[in-house]
């Protein structure tokens, strides 16, 4: 326990260095703006801006990106409330009550509540993170190749079992990501592999950023072009009245919802740890629970401030939760953390529990920076509400070319090869079309990051056991993990059978928030 405080203090000496502090503040501000733009969330921001970090030391790079991640989670609420369009899928539940509040002329109340709830969610989850991470990393230190592979199976199995998307398409998405990651040179024999059309550009493999920026940059822009064309360019921006007096009452009213905020934070954190679950379902579940906890559930959907508090606390807590498996196990808990993990590899770090001993400055600097980022994000958020509203007034036809410019640079920078820019465009267009047909894209991004780690883990395990797959089931940690993974994998197949056995009366879904 005391040891953790010592390490955390050491982390603060890293996070509070002037340069890193500056990165935290810039990252929070950038993240807030990215989050506030409709259609862009943390994953888009982190994917498009990761190439900027190549020249900063790894501590600075991760601190910057984590601050963007945090800022974007705060900012997502802004367009949910002001436009009624979620700034990112994670802020969907915030529209349910945030939008009605804005329509009633209380946009400022919704915005302040969202910021404060995000702060509570962020703070509680970072504290949980601080105390959960070291013991988990300690256990994970004993993990060998079979355990690593079992954990990755678990990550993919959660997408199949809990993702809620079309099963065949989810499985396709996972496998295509893994196969694309296998392009290049075979890691063991060094032989060229999957060099499509004998194009030399494939020899250096497909950088995960090419896929991530393709899907979350170009694909997302095409998607937003479509959404904008549907809306016909009409602005639905609400007006917000901001005065010091109103802010004080708003803060007081927020304090009245502290129970909901704490509930949302804990719920979000634990849901966030699971890959495939993450911030969006966490926020929706918190909304549902918040409604049950409320004395006036009938107000939900019509502008209840608890309805803003619960999802906003939960989505921020979930973003911290998703960093726990990324940092301790090397398994990302969300697409955004998958990109952070890929970044770590680029910066020359080996993700996983050994980071805690080999790079304590990196790990604890990151954890300490989360405390700082949380504080700066809430301050910047409340101070700059007028600036965010101004951003929302900026025409999309100016924002889009700016973002596309960043995508072009981001696709080129990692490998300095135009081949990858073409590939990024292809992934963007195909990814956009697949998204239109309900193919989930997040599993593919997770898979292309995990692919280069999963394949050697599998091959080493099989080499240890001379080809006997039972090695995954007979070791003390990998056994149970693998069993859970298999259960999750077959959950969608088992659920209907279970329902039939129960006599078909279990059509009721568990508590989940739905739009009213």
């Amino acid at each position: 326990m005391l040891e953790i405080f010592g390490l955390l203090a050491q982390g603060f000496t890293v996070a509070l260095q002037p340069f890193n502090l500056m990165l935290i503040i810039i990252g929070c501000a950038v993240g807030l703006f990215i989050g506030a733009m409709p259609g862009l969330g943390s994953v888009n921001g982190v994917a498009i801006l990761l190439p900027l970090t190549f020249l900063v030391p790894p501590e600075g790079a991760i601190i910057f990106l984590a601050a963007i991640y945090y800022g974007a989670m705060y900012g997502g609420a802004v367009s949910s409330i002001m436009l009624g369009i979620p700034g990112a899928s994670t802020a969907v539940a915030t529209t349910f009550d945030g939008r009605p509040l804005a329509k009633q002329g209380m946009a400022d109340k919704a915005l302040t509540t969202a910021a404060m709830a995000s702060f509570v969610g962020g703070t509680i989850s970072v504290i949980l993170f601080t105390f959960f991470a070291p013991p988990l990393a300690h256990v994970a230190l004993t993990f060998g190749a079979p355990e690593e592979f079992a954990l990755m199976m678990l990550a993919f199995a959660t997408f199949v079992g809990l993702g809620g998307d079309d099963l065949a398409k989810t499985i396709f998405s996972i496998c295509v990501g893994l196969v694309l990651a296998a392009v290049g040179l075979d890691i063991m024999s060094g032989a060229p592999r999957l060099v499509f059309g004998d194009i030399t550009g494939f020899l250096h493999g497909i950088n995960f950023l090419v896929l991530a920026i393709g899907i979350y940059g170009i694909g997302e822009m095409l998607w937003t072009v479509e959404e904008n064309a549907k809306a016909g360019g009409k602005s639905m921006l609400s007006e917000a009245v901001l005065t010091w007096e109103r802010t004080k009452t708003n803060l007081k009213e927020f304090l009245g919802t502290w129970k909901v905020a704490v509930m949302g934070s804990f719920l979000g954190y634990f849901v966030g740890i699971l890959p495939a679950a993450g911030a969006t379902p966490g926020a929706l579940m918190a909304y549902g629970f918040g409604k049950q906890m409320s004395k006036t559930p009938e107000k939900f959907g019509k502008g209840a401030i608890e309805g803003v508090t619960a999802p906003e606390a939960a989505n921020n807590a979930a973003s911290t939760g998703s960093m726990l498996p990324m940092l301790t196990l090397g398994i990302p808990g969300s697409p955004t953390t998958a990109i952070l993990l890929g970044g770590m590899v680029i910066w020359g770090l080996e993700p996983g529990p050994r980071l805690f001993t080999s790079n304590p400055d990196f790990v604890w600097g990151l954890i300490a920076s989360l405390y700082a980022a949380n504080l700066f994000a809430v301050i910047l958020n409340i101070l700059f509400i007028p600036a965010f509203i101004w951003v929302l007034k900026m025409p999309f036809t100016i924002l889009a070319p700016l973002i596309l410019t960043l995508c072009l640079v981001g696709g080129y920078a990692p490998t300095q090869d135009m081949h990858d820019v073409w590939l990024m465009l292809l992934f963007g267009i195909v990814g956009y079309l697949m998204r239109k047909l309900d193919y989930p894209v997040a599993p593919a991004v997770l898979a292309i990051v995990l692919g280069p780690l999963a394949e050697p883990a599998l091959r080493q395990s099989l080499l240890i056991s001379s080809g006997d797959p039972s090695i995954f089931f007979t070791r003390p940690y990998s056994g149970p993990i693998m069993v859970v993974a298999l259960i999750l994998l077959f959950l969608p197949a088992l659920a209907p059978i279970y329902r039939r056995l129960r006599g078909g009366n279990s059509g009721k879904a568990p508590t989940g928030g739905t739009a009213e």
Partner: protein
């Protein structure tokens, strides 16, 4: 084209892609290699096989009309939606082709700073219908900021193609060469 038709075409295209991946993976050993473990092609081969399987599953669902996409007879693009999306995609494609050329006729491209202003001008003027002042202003300003930020501050060199000689005086100014 309806969503249902698009689902069929996408399923077929991805199935062909999966089969191609399998065939390409099989260039390396896909079975057990003594003392080496699984061959270099095994991992992508079997994953591509699962991909092919899932495509067939999608196609079976299509035939049996199972799921919201396979039964959706709405047009894939509502009227007036396809054109803007297509124009953005086409503009990007042309922009990337202009940056580095496409290896035809010895054209080595007009570089990032030649193509980007044209792309921006097209987007701002044609897609955004902004005034000439805004369009030209931003089409000049954004590349200049990109240059200062990426090339000078972050030292990320972007391709210049045939415009490379034009940058020599600028480098000389910044680096005092």
């Amino acid at each position: 084209m309806t969503v249902r038709t698009a689902e069929l075409l996408m399923g077929l295209a991805l199935a062909v892609l999966s089969a191609y991946f399998m065939w390409k993976s099989a260039e390396l050993p896909i079975g057990w290699v003594p003392d080496v473990g699984p061959g270099g092609g095994a991992w992508p081969f079997w994953l591509s096989a699962v991909m092919l399987g899932s495509c067939i599953w999608v196609l079976v669902n299509w035939v049996r009309r199972v799921g919201p996409v396979a039964t959706n007879e709405d047009p894939l693009f509502e009227p007036g939606i396809f054109l803007p999306v297509f124009m953005v995609g086409a503009a990007l494609t042309i922009c990337i082709a202009l940056i580095g050329g496409i290896g035809v006729g010895g054209f080595e491209g007009i570089g990032f700073y030649g193509a980007l202003p044209l792309f921006l001008l097209f987007y701002l003027k044609v897609m955004g219908n902004h005034s000439w002042l805004t369009a030209i202003g931003l089409a000049v300003l954004i590349p200049v900021i990109t240059f200062l930020f990426f090339e000078i501050m972050l030292k990320i060199t972007l391709p210049k193609g045939m415009t490379e000689p034009l940058f020599l005086p600028i480098y000389a100014f910044f680096y005092g060469l």
